[in-house]
Structure formats: structure tokens, C-alpha cells
């Protein structure tokens, strides 16, 4: 038998009177392994902190979501939202599953191309596509989703200059009854701007309107706005069909379906209040049946799910650096992963669980990162058991936007690994070193010498 683990004593306030009607205080189950690989072993091999992605989970998520839609509408195509996580290995898993690439900048476009995605399998979104990448996208027959009139005019000019045809779609924004209204992207539906853009495209012989696109927001906590959005796009598609006899290739409903991460200020856990994925699928697909074209010519339903497919497939393992008692008596834990790796912790209360068996006594604590900055706080309040220096914690639901929004600040960025389906672990991004960071910097000759 192992030696019993020592845990420092905790003082708990004694309540008298009626028993707590919610039962005993919460016990957080520890997470000692990911897909069967002990996290301790991963830390020993790759260091701490460590980002871990699960190939199995990504594929599971993708297939589940795809099945949900594919059994509700005959033609479905997913495209992977690059900005959510454009780590090459992650994108490759999605492409292997059959997703196209959805990019929102020239840089992301280049990433997709370098990964081997053909232009015609890239959806090019976003308000800033710059001239050079537009030119490239036209040449490589990417699906360009036009965001504003200036872009439309530029594309018209470019196609004339290049003597090329191009398939385009427009992004449409609309009132779906939610706040904030995302009317800064695309053409507005209600004021007729969208139809104006469509008419201009149809009148131009070089531009071929192949789709409609909307993206009503992010982390949408109700399914109904999707129903509204889908109906409005379907109306638009029917209008195009009736007026111009054009059958669109696809209707792109974007993404924005939430993951199980809990927003700050949200009272209940996300798992308890979010609609099920089935509800979202129902809301998006039901209005599609109002499309008026013949059944076997129905447009394909495109989806650009990001967060909901990757968030719970990403983990951040971190080690406890120190324990502290704050001035008001509240306990604080300092761990070696900070907000520089988890930009998302500014709006999410990321779930943090212990990485090893711990005692049953828990205490309300603050979790701080290692940065010497006041903002470096991962959780202001979280009920966790006590830790010793060197203990591991796992931060959950960090697959989305973490490794694209992270920054090198005060410290360098750590290793990223993927647990493969066969049980192996593969390094998918090496930790940074000072040479890598310094290699981009130039010091003017005159500043090179100093003596202190």
C-alpha cells in the first residue's frame, strides 16, 4: 500500500441548523489521464505547462455533429474555422474527416494552402482580404465570401484585370433577435443591401453567385436565432431562384454554436443551460425545407463550426508553483500557466480540475498564473481541493481560440502535443526558445555595445 498522501489541514466553517438541500459540497473528480495516457507521464516527457489535444475527441465531435446535420438535411458540408485553431495537425484531422478550410485572412489562406488544401476547397471570409490574397484566391478558384461593397468592387476590378471568372458568395447580416447584433460583417438583410449586392453580382458576367453566408455571432446560447437566420437566408435563396433562376450551390450558416465552457457572469454551469446540439441542428435545418428548388437540386448546407468541435478536445496541463493565503484569508494557488496562454480566460470561467487524487476537502480559492502582472488571474473563485507544490492541474475546454490567441509575454510558449488514436503522443508544436524569438529582432549597430 502506498504511503498516505499528506494534506495540510483546512479550516471549514461549521454550519448548524437545517441540512443543505443541495446535498454535500461539490467534489471535483480528478483527471489523471487523457485518452488513457497518464498526464504525469506527459509532463515528464514534454514539460509543464503543456497543451494536449485529443485526436479521438476531435474526430468524435466532428462525426457526431456531422451525423446530427446529415440525418436532418440531405446535403451537408462542414468547413473548419481556421481562426478557432489553425495548428496544422489539428486542421489536418478536420480535413481528413472531410472538412473544407474556412479562413479569414491572407495569412490563414496561406496556412491552408501550405497544408495542401486546394484553393477551391477554401472558403475565404473576413472583412480584410487584401489585394494580393484576393488575387491569389481568384486565381486558385477559392470560394470568396464578400463582406462589403468595396471588396465587391475590388473583385470586379481584379477579375477584369486578370480576365478570370470567380465563384463568390456574400455574407449577410440580419436581425435574429439577439444582442449584440452582428451587423458589422457582410450586407444587411433587412435594409435590402444584401439583395443589392446579389443583383450587382448576378449582373456581372465574371462573377458567379454560388452561395449565401451568415454568421450570427459567437457562443449563441439559444437555438432560435439560427432558425430566424436560416429562414431569412432561405427567403433570399428562394428570391434568387425565382427572379434569376439561379440555384445556389450552398447556404452557409456559419458557426457560433457554444461549447461547454461557462461564461463569466453566467450563473449556472454551461452544461445545464445550453440547448442540446440536436436543438441547434433542428433549428438550422428545418427552415431549409422551405427552399423552393427541386429536391435533387437543393443547395448544400455549409457549416463553419469551430468552438463546438474543438473546445473540449483541448487540455492545458499545468503545475502548481505555490500556495498562498490572501489578506482576506482566501486561499490562492499559483500555477505555471497564465493568461498569456489562455486569452480566453478573460471571458470564460475555465474549468480547472486536479491532476491527481486529492482529499475530499475543498476550499474556495483564486487561481493565478505565473506572470508578474495583476491581470494574470485564471479564476477568481473556484472550489478546489488543496494542492502541494508540483501537483498538476488540468484546465478544460481550452481547444478553441487558445493556441491562436496566445502570446509570448514574459515567458515562452510551451509544447503542444496530440494524443493520437493509437495511444501514442506526438509533439505538434515545439516550445519556443530564445533563439527563435530573437531571430526576428534586429538591433541597430549603434545600440549593440553598452557597458554597465
Amino acid at each position: 500500500m502506498d504511503k498516505k498522501r499528506y494534506e495540510r489541514p483546512v479550516i471549514i466553517k461549521q454550519y448548524s441548523g437545517l441540512m443543505n438541500k443541495f446535498g454535500s459540497s461539490p467534489v471535483t473528480k480528478p483527471m489523471t489521464e487523457i485518452d488513457g495516457i497518464p498526464i504525469r507521464r506527459m509532463v515528464d516527457e514534454y514539460g509543464s505547462p503543456l497543451f494536449v489535444f485529443s485526436e479521438k475527441k476531435i474526430r468524435e465531435n466532428y462525426r457526431k455533429m456531422y451525423r446530427l446535420f446529415k440525418t436532418r438535411y440531405p446535403k451537408v458540408q462542414f468547413s473548419w474555422s481556421y481562426k478557432t485553431n489553425y495548428m496544422n495537425a489539428v486542421c489536418s484531422v478536420f480535413h481528413q474527416e472531410g472538412a473544407l478550410a474556412e479562413v479569414v485572412s491572407g495569412y490563414e489562406y496561406d496556412r491552408a494552402r501550405r497544408l495542401g488544401v486546394e484553393g477551391r476547397n477554401i472558403i475565404f471570409n473576413g472583412p480584410d482580404k487584401n489585394t494580393a490574397s484576393l488575387e491569389r484566391a481568384i486565381k486558385e478558384s477559392a470560394k470568396i465570401h464578400i463582406d462589403h461593397f468595396d471588396e465587391l468592387f475590388e473583385i470586379i476590378e481584379l477579375t477584369e484585370k486578370m480576365n478570370a471568372d470567380v465563384d463568390v458568395a456574400i455574407r449577410v447580416n440580419m436581425d435574429t433577435g439577439i444582442y449584440p447584433k452582428w451587423d458589422r460583417f457582410g450586407f444587411n438583410y433587412e435594409n435590402g443591401e444584401a439583395m443589392d449586392a446579389i443583383k450587382r453580382i448576378i449582373k456581372n458576367p465574371r462573377l458567379h453567385l454560388t452561395g449565401l453566408h451568415t454568421h450570427i455571432g459567437t457562443y449563441i446560447m439559444s437555438a432560435d436565432p439560427y432558425r430566424v437566420a436560416a429562414s431569412k437566408l432561405v427567403n433570399l435563396a428562394n428570391e434568387i431562384y425565382k427572379q434569376y433562376n439561379i440555384v445556389l450551390d450552398y447556404i452557409d450558416m456559419g458557426g457560433g454554436i457554444p461549447s461547454n465552457n461557462t461564461l463569466k457572469g453566467q450563473y449556472l454551469q454551461a452544461e445545464q443551460i445550453l440547448p442540446s446540439l440536436e436543438d441547434f441542428a433542428d433549428a438550422i435545418t428545418s427552415p431549409m425545407f422551405d427552399l423552393e428548388m427541386p429536391h435533387d437540386e437543393l443547395p448544400t448546407l455549409y457549416l463553419e463550426n469551430g468552438r463546438s468541435l474543438i473546445d473540449d478536445a483541448g487540455y492545458l496541463i499545468s503545475s502548481v508553483i505555490a500556495n498562498k493565503r490572501l489578506s482576506d484569508g482566501k486561499r490562492a494557488v499559483i500555477i505555471d500557466a497564465g493568461v498569456n496562454y489562455l486569452f480566453t480566460s478573460h471571458w470564460f470561467n475555465h474549468k480547472i480540475v486536479p491532476g491527481q487524487q486529492s482529499g475530499e476537502f475543498t476550499e474556495n480559492s483564486a487561481v493565478y498564473g505565473p506572470l508578474c502582472m495583476n491581470i494574470d488571474c485564471l479564476r477568481e473563485n473556484i472550489v478546489i481541493p488543496s494542492f502541494k507544490k508540483g501537483d498538476l492541474v488540468v484546465i478544460l475546454y481550452v481547444g478553441a481560440y487558445s493556441v491562436t490567441q496566445w502570446m509570448q509575454f514574459i515567458t515562452l510558449r510551451p509544447n503542444v502535443i496530440m494524443v493520437m488514436e493509437d495511444g501514442e503522443t506526438e509533439l505538434i508544436r515545439e516550445n519556443e526558445n530564445i533563439e527563435y524569438i530573437n531571430s526576428l529582432e534586429k538591433v541597430p549597430e549603434i545600440l549593440k555595445n553598452f557597458s554597465l
Binding site: 474526430r59 468524435e60 462525426r63 457526431k64 451525423r67 446530427l68 446529415k70 440525418t71 436532418r72 438535411y73 440531405p74 446535403k75 472531410g98 495542401g116 486546394e118 477551391r120 476547397n121 450551390d249 442540446s276 440536436e278 433542428d282 435545418t285 425545407f289 429536391h295 435533387d296
Partner: protein, 712 residues
């Protein structure tokens, strides 16, 4: 001139149910063993065909020998029965014209009224008229009936001599050499007919000796030649050869003997010869009577434009294995995406007895479970709340929509079927979809629904302990009526990450099934419309050539592609699949290779799509082994030509498709040593047109490129 020669040669060939010019030439040569007979025959063919041309009859019919073959027989027999004098020649010419009119009348009359061929009945009739007419002249008498005898053949057994003489008599040749020539011609033309001639001759020989103590040679040869010609007609030319051919030949031979015996006595009153009358009567009676069987599945009468008996056999067997199971309606699976058959036909749980032709469908996840979570709530089940669609166009005739959905584990035995939609598919077929979600049915009684239209949601009502869709075909609009065995037209079954295309089949328990979703590019590439033109540049074994195709439609509404050499590929385009049903013509043409590379194509794409099909054996194999194997076609197909096809994206392209066919010709039974492989490939470009197709085997390599401008 070529047209006239063709018509003459085909006239000769027609007598033997052949459509080969070289065979006509052989027959012509056989008549010239006695030059006088030969000249008369040729004159007969020439005069009647020229008359037909002059009178502007249908040129394709003239060319096929339709108007010539009776005249040949009449004119030969005139020379056969009478001393040739100028007067007889004159009479013969007149009677050739008489034959022409009688035969064109009779052939059409038979075809229109009885849907039968006229055979050589016109010849018999005209000759009888001639023979009776000639009795007006006392001075003209019958010539003797003697066979030319040859020293060198005296060593041959009597049996064989009679066999060749009988062959000779088909063309009224009193000469064993003509008989030998014709027998050799038949051997090269068709192994089936050759075997038939031996079989029927032997049968006739045996039966005749059983029925009569010592038949004269005259009777033997008369019956034999009738039996041989009858065996041609009944054993391959007009009825497709099969195992049942032998019993048919036994019966036919017996009939021939009886008819000959009867006719001999009867016609004796009028001093008339029997000739081919027994053959005509037996064949016509047999074929006409066979038409009235309830099931025509064996001893199949020719239902298509005839080729050689071998070609007829291959065509029929190919058509049977490819299209026999096709039905008059093309239902599809009543849902979107991939579902699993949780209970199939004859299922253990409820699909029994009168209700056995039914399916239960559910959705399963990667872990093969039907639900996520603990599965205690109906919402946990993947299929719950997913759309259910109409399997076919039809009218909604019954709706039940108010049965509450059960809790998981409970079953409502009072309202067994739960919420149900019954659709009338117009042609006596009804389909019934049960256990739907309460209040989810969006159509009303009397609504027209179209195939694939969403009509409700999968639920858990009625006798349904967990959410699933119950589907059955039936013959009335009654709720819970007994099921009717009817297949789904085209669907995919998942097997080891591959999807196999099934046609008119029944999904089996545990199969993962889905519909074919048409792909724009494939659909466009295989949409051939009347008047579409193609220009194909190709290389066959190093030689470059060009070929033009045009899409045409014939009077039976069959759509086909014809190239400039008049080769044709018949198309059978369906909603979800494209087929080439037949190819007739030049095997050196690009169109032939198009047949080899696109025999059938699903018009939708899924990863790992695979299917099989069957080529016409005589189109893909042409060698001694195949010819030899045709001696045994009676016993069934000896050499098959199978294709294994797959559809994939071209490497590094999401818009260009490749169809790969692995063609395997292999023998069955004693020919199992024979195996030959070939490959073909079809490339469809992103604009939805045929870009390139290629073929390679040990003997041939082909590569064709579509040079035509994009079709509209």
C-alpha cells in the same frame, strides 16, 4: 451496288437465321455446287430485291434479306423439280414476283396479327401454287429426286452422309458437298446451332427408327432437314438457348416426324411434296403456344433485335443479371443520412408472418450505440426528432398524429403503429411509416408528396420501446396491413469503410444504409440529351483517330449514342444511376471503349464508393476459348465478364472524378482455367463533362479525349 450485294447475301443468310454476310456467301457458294440451281437462286434473290427497291419498300428491311429469302427457295426449287427450259425460266421469273408479293404479305400479316415470323411459309405456299399450276401443262413433268453420289465420300458412315444430305436439302441441294459446306458454315457461325443440328438429327434418327421399322432414306432426310431447321429456330434463333432447349428439341423432333407423316399422306392427294412445311408448322405452333405461358422465365422468346444465337444468349443473360430485378417504381430510403437496419425482413422481434417484409431503422453513433448519455430518455436517441421523408412520389392517404411518444422502455400496445403516414404511390403500391413523433407530421391527408420530401419526424409512439422508424410497403391504405415484398431502388451499404451500391435490393439487418445524393458534376456529365454531339480524339494501340458521336432516340424511346461508323451504345439513365445497357457495332471505335469505361455510374459521391456490373461476354472476349466454350452454352454461361468499379476524386482535386473499372473475364466449370484482366478509367472534369477515358489490357491500349466544346 453494295446495298444490292448486301441484300442478296443477307437473303441467303436469313434462311439459316444468320445475319452475317460471310455466311450468306457460304450459302450462295453451296448452291453453286450445282450451277444451274445456284443461278436460279441468285436470280431469285436479285429479282425480288430489285423489285422491292423499285417499289420503295423499307430499305433496312430489304437490306436484311427480309424480301429475298423466300424467292431464293422458290426459284431454286423450280430448277430442282423441273427440267430447265426457256419456258420454265420464264415461269420461274413470274413466280419470283408472285413469291415476293405473297411473302411480303404473309410476313407482315403474321407479324401484325400473330406477332410471329412468317418463316418460309410463303415459299411453301407459292411453290404449291406453282406445282398445281404447272399441272395445266401435260408435257412438263417432275424431275427425279436423286442425290449426287461421290466415290470419295463412300467411306463416310451412312449416318453422316444422311446428315450432310439433310443439310443440303435446306437449300434444295441434292449434293453432299453443299451440305458439308453449309454444316461447316454453321459451325463457324454458331456453335449453338451446330450442336442443335447434331442433336436434332440424332434424335430424329432414333425416333424414326423407333416409330417405323425401316424408314426409307427419303423419309429420313426429309424429317432430318425439317428437324435441323426447327432446332435452329427453337434452340437459339427465336428462343434463347438454355438447359430446357434439349427437352424442347425432343418434342419438336417428335412433332416433325408426326407432321411429316401426316403431310406426306395428305399432300399425296394433290401430288405435292412436303418440303419444309412440317418445320414451319411445328415452329409456329410451338412459339405461338409458348407465348401464352404465365411465366416466361425460361425458354425465353426473343424480345429484342436478334443477333447470332450466342449473342442472343449473352444479351439475355446480361440483361437478366443486370436489369431483371428492376421494378416499375424506384423507391428510396425514407430518411437523410446514414441509418442502421435494427430489424430486417423476417426479423426476430416483430417482422413475422404477414408482416415480414418490413424494416426498422435507427441511427447509431461511432460506438454503435443508438443513443448518447444513458439512453433513458427518448431525446438521447440519435434518431429521435430527425426528418422522415417520402420514399416515392404519391398521395398521403392516411395520417395518425396524436399518439404520445413513449418513455424509453415502454410500449403502447393499444395503438401498436403509433403515429403513422400511409402514402399511395399510384401504381397499387402503398408505403407506411410508423412510430413517428407526436404532432410532427407536416402533411395532410390528400397532399401530394414527392420523393425525398420531409413529411414528419422520427419518434417513439406506438409499440416502440425506443425511438425508431418502422417502414413497410403494402397493397392497401389499411393501417397495419400485411406487408408486400418490394425493394429499394438504389442505396448504399457501408462495409468496412466502403460503400457498396445496391440496386433493387432489400437492406439486411445491421446494414448501415444511406441514399445516393446526386452530385451536380456527375449528374451533368452523364446527362445525355437528344442532339448532344461529341468529338472524341483517340489513340488505339498507337494509332490516332477521331470520332463523332451524336445522341439519338429511336421509335421505342430508347436513348442511344451513335458514332459516325453507326456503332451504337444504348443508354439507360435513371435518377440515381446511369447505365449503358448494350453496345452494338465496331469494337475498334471509341464508343466501344466508352461502354467499357462507363457501364454503370452512380450519380452521387461518397467516400469509398464501389459497385459491380457485368459486360456482355461477346463484347469483351474474342478468342478461341470463348468460341469453344459456346458448344456448352446449353448448360449455362461458361465465360463471364465482370466489372468491379469504384468512384473517387482525382488526386489533389475535389472537383474531378475518376471511375475505375477492373474488368475480369473468367470461365466457369471446365473453363475455370481461363482468366483475363483489363482496366478502364473514366475522368470527369469539374465542369461536368467527360474529359478522358482509357483502357488497357494485354492486347489493347486505348486513350480517348473529349474534344467537344462544353455541352449546354
Amino acid at each position: 451496288m453494295k446495298f444490292l450485294i448486301d441484300s442478296i447475301l443477307y437473303s441467303y443468310a436469313q434462311i439459316f437465321f444468320s445475319n452475317r454476310r460471310w455466311f450468306g456467301l457460304t450459302a450462295l457458294a453451296a448452291t453453286f455446287v450445282s450451277p444451274v440451281l445456284g443461278l436460279f437462286g441468285l436470280a431469285g434473290a436479285l429479282i425480288s430485291n430489285l423489285s422491292a427497291v423499285a417499289l420503295k419498300y423499307d430499305r433496312t428491311k430489304i437490306r436484311s434479306g427480309f424480301y429475298g429469302f423466300n424467292s431464293i427457295l422458290v426459284s431454286i426449287s423450280v430448277a430442282y423439280f423441273f427440267e430447265v427450259t426457256p419456258f420454265i425460266i420464264l415461269l420461274a421469273f413470274i413466280f419470283i414476283l408472285v413469291t415476293f408479293f405473297i411473302s411480303s404479305t404473309l410476313e407482315h400479316l403474321f407479324a401484325e396479327v400473330l406477332n410471329l415470323p412468317g418463316l418460309s411459309l410463303p415459299f411453301v405456299l407459292t411453290l404449291f401454287i406453282f406445282l398445281i399450276f404447272i399441272t395445266n401443262y401435260d408435257s412438263i413433268n417432275y424431275r427425279g429426286f436423286t442425290f449426287q453420289s461421290y466415290e470419295i465420300f463412300s467411306a463416310l458412315p451412312e449416318f453422316l452422309i444422311s446428315y450432310f444430305r439433310a443439310f443440303g436439302l435446306i437449300l434444295l441441294q441434292p449434293d453432299i458437298i453443299s451440305g458439308m459446306l453449309l454444316a461447316a458454315g454453321i459451325l463457324f457461325y454458331s456453335r449453338i446451332l451446330f450442336v442443335n443440328s447434331l442433336v436434332s438429327f440424332s434424335l430424329n434418327y432414333i425416333f424414326l427408327h423407333l416409330l417405323f421399322s425401316s424408314p426409307t432414306e427419303e423419309i429420313l432426310i426429309l424429317t432430318s432437314f425439317n428437324a435441323i431447321v426447327a432446332s435452329f429456330a427453337l434452340g437459339g434463333a427465336l428462343i434463347i438457348v438454355s438447359k430446357k432447349t434439349i427437352p424442347l428439341l425432343v418434342i419438336a423432333t417428335l412433332f416433325i416426324i408426326i407432321f411429316t407423316g401426316a403431310m406426306l399422306k395428305f399432300l399425296d392427294f394433290f401430288y405435292l411434296p412436303v418440303l419444309v412445311l412440317p418445320f414451319n408448322m411445328v415452329v409456329l405452333f410451338t412459339i405461338y403456344s409458348l407465348k401464352f405461358r404465365q411465366e416466361q422465365s425460361d425458354l425465353v422468346l426473343l424480345y429484342f433485335k436478334p443477333g447470332s444465337p450466342e449473342e442472343n444468349f449473352y444479351y439475355h443473360s446480361n440483361r437478366k443479371s443486370r436489369f431483371d430485378k428492376f421494378k416499375y417504381l424506384f423507391p428510396e430510403l425514407p430518411f437523410f443520412g446514414e441509418w442502421k437496419v435494427s430489424q430486417g425482413i423476417d426479423g426476430e422481434i416483430t417482422h413475422k408472418d404477414d408482416w415480414k417484409y418490413a424494416w426498422d431503422f435507427v441511427i447509431t453513433g461511432d460506438d454503435e450505440n443508438e443513443y448518447s448519455g444513458d439512453g433513458n430518455h427518448k431525446e438521447d436517441y440519435y434518431c429521435f426528432n430527425t426528418p422522415v421523408v417520402a420514399p416515392l412520389d404519391g398521395e398521403v392517404v392516411k395520417i395518425i398524429d396524436n399518439v404520445p411518444d413513449n418513455k424509453v422502455g415502454e410500449a403502447n400496445l393499444n395503438e401498436n403503429w403509433g403515429n403513422t403516414i400511409i402514402i399511395d404511390h399510384d401504381k397499387g403500391l402503398f408505403s407506411s411509416l410508423s412510430h413517428l413523433k407526436q404532432d410532427s407530421i407536416k402533411v395532410k391527408k390528400g397532399d401530394r408528396v414527392s420523393k425525398g420530401e420531409k413529411i414528419g419526424l422520427c419518434g417513439n409512439s406506438g409499440r416502440s420501446p425506443s425511438p425508431h422508424l418502422h417502414f413497410q410497403f403494402q397493397l392497401t391504405d389499411k393501417l397495419g396491413d400485411k406487408t408486400y415484398e418490394f425493394p429499394f431502388s438504389h442505396y448504399l451499404v457501408k462495409r468496412d469503410d466502403k460503400y457498396e451500391v445496391m440496386s433493387f435490393d432489400y437492406p439486411k439487418e445491421d446494414d448501415l444504409v444511406r441514399n445516393i445524393e446526386t452530385h451536380k458534376i456527375l449528374k451533368k456529365a452523364y446527362k445525355f440529351q437528344l442532339g448532344d454531339k461529341f468529338e472524341i480524339e483517340y489513340q488505339l494501340n498507337g494509332k490516332t483517330a477521331k470520332e463523332n458521336w451524336e445522341v439519338k432516340v429511336d421509335i421505342h424511346n430508347n436513348i442511344f449514342i451513335e458514332n459516325d461508323k453507326k456503332s451504337v451504345a444504348f443508354l439507360y439513365p435513371r435518377e440515381k444511376m446511369f447505365y449503358i445497357s448494350n453496345f452494338i457495332g465496331d469494337k475498334k471505335s471509341a464508343l466501344y471503349y466508352f461502354y467499357l469505361s462507363s457501364i454503370s455510374v452512380p450519380l452521387g459521391y461518397t467516400d469509398g464508393l464501389e459497385w459491380t456490373d457485368k459486360f456482355l461476354t461477346y463484347l469483351t472476349t474474342n478468342n478461341f476459348i470463348r468460341y469453344f466454350s459456346e458448344f456448352f452454352l446449353l448448360a449455362g454461361e461458361q465465360i463471364e465478364s465482370n466489372a468491379k468499379l469504384s468512384l473517387s476524386y482525382k488526386e489533389n482535386s475535389e472537383r474531378e472524378f475518376i471511375i475505375n473499372s477492373e474488368i475480369t473475364n473468367c470461365g466457369n466449370g471446365i473453363f475455370s482455367f481461363y482468366k483475363e484482366k483489363a482496366n478502364s478509367q473514366m475522368l470527369i472534369d469539374s465542369n461536368g463533362s467527360i474529359k478522358e477515358f482509357s483502357f488497357s489490357s494485354k492486347k489493347n491500349t486505348f486513350r480517348g479525349i473529349n474534344k467537344s466544346k462544353e455541352k449546354q
